[in-house]
């Protein structure tokens, strides 16, 4: 799968150069970095500019804009619009809802939650998937049968329906699985749900690759040298999967973010008072006629983040494997699995 090392440069630096030549991808990588910086700056903005936290309510308060006093939330329940720097940075983007919270602060903190959940879920799913794929592809036989069947079952579950139900059940009662306990309001619940459903996405194509790789000569050689299964799996096979894993991980972050947003929209994801871009869109959609920005801002943020990740992931695939053979196998397997047509599971490429 990886290219033969050229005489002067290792395959990784070659890949890096190919990536850097794709100016579109570099630009979007930059955008992604900007977004991350934006959300990490949340406490700075909250404490020094807006002077309020993401959950503090100012329903009956007034702010002074250019000398005039204005209601944060009008008597009929209309939240104030973007003030930019008119009130010294408070309510820069206006108030978020009838609870009168600072939209800019919430946008930043919400982004943190969305990114945290997306990245964590993708990470957990990738690690679990790689381990399962290695086990299945290397040991084959009944191990493979068991793992493949389980993945099939998860795969065939009406993803959104079960994810939604599970999310709601967990939101009420939390999770108690032996020693593992997650309280009901925690962000770990949506992470848990998203990870479970993301695993088959990654595990199936990688399993295919492991199956193919484990028949290659270098594996035979390692076994002949007396390497145990763990060594073969992790030292010989795994490095060859590296590029596929990287690409999938990137794309799965985008996928997870969209999935979380969908779950939160239906009340099965992030629970108040925590907020994410998904919950903000829910609130914003209700107030769409009054203040369209409240739905559009978080929506655009999700879109830009997912877009950047998709483009970067796509470019990574191009850079790491220009011949495209593995891409064909991996992408077909990856895409040849239904349930991603509607964006609820975020079709990534």
């Amino acid at each position: 799968m990886s290219t033969e090392p050229s005489a002067e440069r290792g395959p990784w630096s070659l890949a890096l150069r190919r990536f850097l030549r794709n100016r579109l991808a570099v630009a979007f990588l930059g955008l992604f970095v900007l977004i991350v910086v934006f959300v990490m700056a949340a406490p700075l903005w909250a404490n020094h500019v807006a002077d309020t936290g993401p959950n503090e309510e100012h329903t009956v308060e007034q702010i002074t804009v250019d000398g005039e006093k204005k209601d944060v939330v009008s008597v009929e329940g209309k939240p104030i619009g973007p003030q930019w720097f008119g009130a010294g940075g408070k309510f820069f983007l206006g108030a978020d809802s009838r609870l009168g919270r600072d939209e800019m602060v919430r946008l930043m903190y919400g982004g943190r939650t969305s990114l945290q959940i997306g990245i964590t879920a993708a990470l957990i799913a990738t690690i679990a998937a790689v381990i399962l794929a290695l086990l299945a592809g290397y040991f084959r036989g009944w191990v493979d049968g068991l793992i493949a069947r389980t993945l099939d079952v998860i795969w065939s579950l009406p993803v959104f329906l079960i994810g939604l139900s599970l999310g709601i059940a967990l939101a009420v009662g939390g999770l108690k699985l032996g020693p593992l306990e997650i309280s009901s309001g925690s962000n770990w619940n949506p992470i848990f749900v998203i990870s479970i459903f993301t695993v088959p996405y990654i595990a199936r194509p990688i399993r295919g690759q492991v199956l193919a790789l484990s028949e290659k000569e270098f594996v035979e050689a390692a076994v002949a040298q007396g390497a145990g299964p763990v060594r073969v799996m992790f030292s010989e096979i795994l490095p060859n999967l590296a590029s596929t894993i990287i690409v999938f991980f990137t794309l799965m972050i985008a996928n997870s973010m969209l999935f979380e947003a969908g779950l939160s929209f239906l009340g099965a994801g992030v629970q108040p008072p925590n907020s994410s871009w998904g919950t903000m869109i829910t609130v914003g959609v209700e107030l769409l006629n009054i203040q369209p920005l409240l739905a559009i801002l978080p929506g655009v943020m999700i879109m830009l983040t997912v877009l950047s990740l998709n483009i970067v992931g796509d470019a990574l695939r191009d850079a790491l494997d220009p011949r495209g053979k593995a891409r064909l196998d991996a992408s077909l397997e990856f895409e040849a699995q239904g349930g991603i047509a509607t964006g609820q599971q975020g079709a990534t490429i």
Binding site: E57, V60, V75, R98, A171, V172, G185
Partner: protein, 551 residues
């Protein structure tokens, strides 16, 4: 390539403009002036945001259901078809007069009017009443607890083997005699609910939501598609028989009605504005409410008061809310003004158990908003346990009210955890004693009928604290109050009782088990084809189908 592009562009434009033209002109599906443009007749196109819980009079226990079936099923007694407080008056329905009640309050005697018929032509018999009561209990209806004081009804509920000894009827004379185990001041009101509307005795004892049974009202349901919609036509036997026998009840102006469930309330508002639909049963969503009110009030829109109380309850049996000072502090801290904004003006602030419109209501204000006083009280009380869980449901704006309450408690120094539950399960979960950490939360209560006991007994009486399906979330158990509730509940409602209820209201609020914050307004929003003035909204049954008239 270029030429092809131009051709395509023209075609697309043409297609779009055709659609645009079509929608501009064809938006009006109303057959409003169906019968020659007059006031009488026509087909009402209505929309509800959800299908009622049941389309069966014995089972339905929601505003949608009651509003849908109010003019289809007439019980022995009914409520005056009038707006506001007038609509709280109980009047005879299928019975000739209001019941004669014995001196000990345990025996009710009524006479069925002769000559009444169901919409399928079956004559109405006195024995149809106990049949309906038994059917309701056999179906495990949520309304059955109202009728368990009837002699032998509890036993019947357990064994499902009848007949119920407490109801005796005579089909020849039409006499119906009901014996109760003890006096019950609310029984007259309860006889006016559809749970016990008489039905033909061949009605199957199962949920008839997909095929509603025949009724005695001016309209009948001709088609029911659960989840999607239903249709009404005039009941032919109203004109022939029932209408003449019950002249005080309106016969209705429209000939038929078609109700479609449209789940998106924004769509509903657009449809009414465009005239595609004539009436939406639920109020406009908060985001359109102000705009609709400003544009159409007086011509197509009217605010309707309800008899309801929205409140925050506090668990009086566990710290920190077992200290009355803490509870009073909360009452001082909650600001109805903020909540009015959160509800976009659809809440009118109050701080009492009974809402305006309920007999026995008289305004008083024990805890005007005062954050300083609240903090003072908190300092005096100095609770040791400040970790609390706050509960609310997902339905907007109740979830926002819950978030507001959460923040208020935080300001008072509590360490809070907010739990927001699915609206359909919310009351079951907080009503279950095994749910941990039921410290404080949101709730609301809409009257079942206009009698103050309907608020005090299920929500604040000690005997109402149940291990499951609890309604007394504050777990309030005050023996003096319990005694008063029981006494007043056995008496028939008169001016004496009303002032006693007002005192009870104040007495309880001094103990502050709740922080009530408002009463909800609903609304009437119709298209411009409908005469707004004629529409009647009854606080118990909602909008009457028989009150809609085309201009």
């Amino acid at each position: 390539m270029k030429k092809l592009g131009a051709v395509i562009a023209v075609l697309v434009l043409a297609a779009l403009s055709t659609i645009g033209l079509a929608s501009c002109g064809g938006g009006d599906d109303t057959t409003g002036s169906g019968e020659g443009g007059g006031k009488q007749g026509g087909t009402l196109n209505a929309t509800y945001a959800s299908f009622p819980d049941y389309m069966d009079p014995a089972l339905s226990y929601t505003a949608e259901g009651w509003s849908a079936m109010a003019d289809v099923y007439t019980p022995l007694l009914t409520y005056k078809h009038a707006n506001g407080e007038e609509g709280s008056e109980v009047i005879p329905g299928l019975a000739k007069e209001l019941p004669k009640i014995s001196n000990d309050g345990k025996t009710y005697t009524l006479f069925l009017r002769p000559g009444l018929k169901y919409s399928d032509g079956t004559p109405v018999k006195a024995s149809d009443f106990p049949f309906a009561v038994e059917r309701m209990i056999q179906l495990n209806s949520g309304g059955s607890p109202f009728y368990l004081t009837i002699d032998g009804a509890e036993q019947f509920a357990k064994t499902k083997k009848g007949p119920i000894p407490g109801i005796k009827t005579n089909d020849k004379t039409g006499e119906i005699v009901i014996n109760l185990e003890g006096p019950r001041g609310t029984f007259t009101n309860e006889l006016g609910l559809m749970f016990v509307a008489p039905l033909p005795q061949d009605t199957p004892v199962e949920d008839m939501s997909a095929n509603p049974p025949p009724g005695t009202g001016p309209y009948m349901i001709t088609k029911s598609q659960p989840g999607k919609g239903w249709e009404y036509e005039r009941n032919p036997y109203w004109a022939k028989a029932n209408g003449k026998a019950m002249p005080d009840l309106p016969e209705g102006s429209i000939d038929s009605a078609k109700v479609t469930v449209i789940r998106n309330p924004q769509s509903q508002v657009d449809d009414i504005e465009q005239g595609t639909y004539d009436w939406m049963q639920n109020p406009p969503p908060s985001s359109r409410y102000t705009e609709v009110k400003e544009k159409y009030e007086g011509t197509q829109f009217r605010v309707e008061p309800t008899i309801s109380t929205y409140y925050f309850w506090m668990n009086t049996q566990e710290p920190p809310f077992d200290d009355v000072k803490v509870r009073q502090a909360v009452n001082y801290a909650v600001d109805s003004k903020a909540l009015e904004r959160i509800y976009a003006g659809q809440i009118v602030g109050t701080q009492q158990i009974l809402p305006p419109g309920m007999p026995g209501y008289e305004q008083f204000e024990l805890y005007p908003h005062n954050m300083d006083r609240a903090e003072e009280l908190m300092k005096e009380a100095n609770p040791s346990d400040t970790d609390i869980t706050v509960w609310t449901d997902t339905e907007s704006p109740n979830n926002e009210a819950g978030e507001y309450f959460n923040e208020v408690l935080k300001e008072l120094g509590f360490n809070t955890k907010l739990k927001i539950l699915n609206a359909d399960n919310y009351f079951t979960v907080i009503g279950n004693a095994t749910t941990p950490d039921l410290d404080a939360g949101w709730s609301d209560w809409f009257q079942d009928y206009p009698h103050p006991n309907d608020f005090f007994q299920p929500l604040l009486a000690g005997e109402s604290i149940l291990p499951t399906n609890n309604g007394n979330f504050a777990k309030f158990d005050n023996s003096a109050v319990n005694k008063k509730i029981k006494e007043l509940g056995a008496e028939q409602l008169g001016p004496e009782q009303e002032s006693a209820y007002k005192e009870l209201d104040e007495e309880i609020m001094e103990e502050a088990p709740w922080a009530p914050y408002g009463t909800r307004t609903l609304s009437t929003f119709v298209s411009d084809a409908i005469d707004l003035e004629s529409v009647i909204f009854n606080p118990t049954f909602g909008h009457y189908l028989s009150s809609f008239e085309f201009k």
